[in-house]
Subunit: 90 residues, 2 copies
Amino acid sequence: MDMTFEIIGWLAGICTAVSFVPQSLKTFRTKNVAGLSALTYTVYNLGVLGWVVYGAYLKSYQMVVFNAVCFAFSFSVLAMILRYRRRSRL
Amino acid sequence: MDMTFEIIGWLAGICTAVSFVPQSLKTFRTKNVAGLSALTYTVYNLGVLGWVVYGAYLKSYQMVVFNAVCFAFSFSVLAMILRYRRRSRL
């Protein structure tokens, strides 16, 4: 039973870590950022970065790695929102 | 120093918990889901739900509450993607 929950924890970590890969690819391909919330991605990235720091403090390397991967992709989405939004205003 | 990291952990939890509130409100208002990735929100919601279960197993009530709040809003975004996408196809 414990093993089941540990597996759920790992799967959850993998899911949240890679979840922004398709969003990042879609935004890169379409440059359509009109429906995306810059505030959501700003707050989310700050939160995930906080989890990286907190994971390092707890010496939980899974937490650091999962959240660092998550940050890389969600930050790329934020960067594209800011870039393509600015461009469309020109 | 420990206190600082505990505060970082709490702030990270609050950030990720509420981060999808602006996205949810924006999508509700604009119904513009063309730029949103349904796959991202599906994988992300599964992951967050996994964290709720894993948090309950660890008896970490902060983990359960933060992730349940996060799930509520990110699930609402997924529901709107599926709803408004279908509508625009009619």
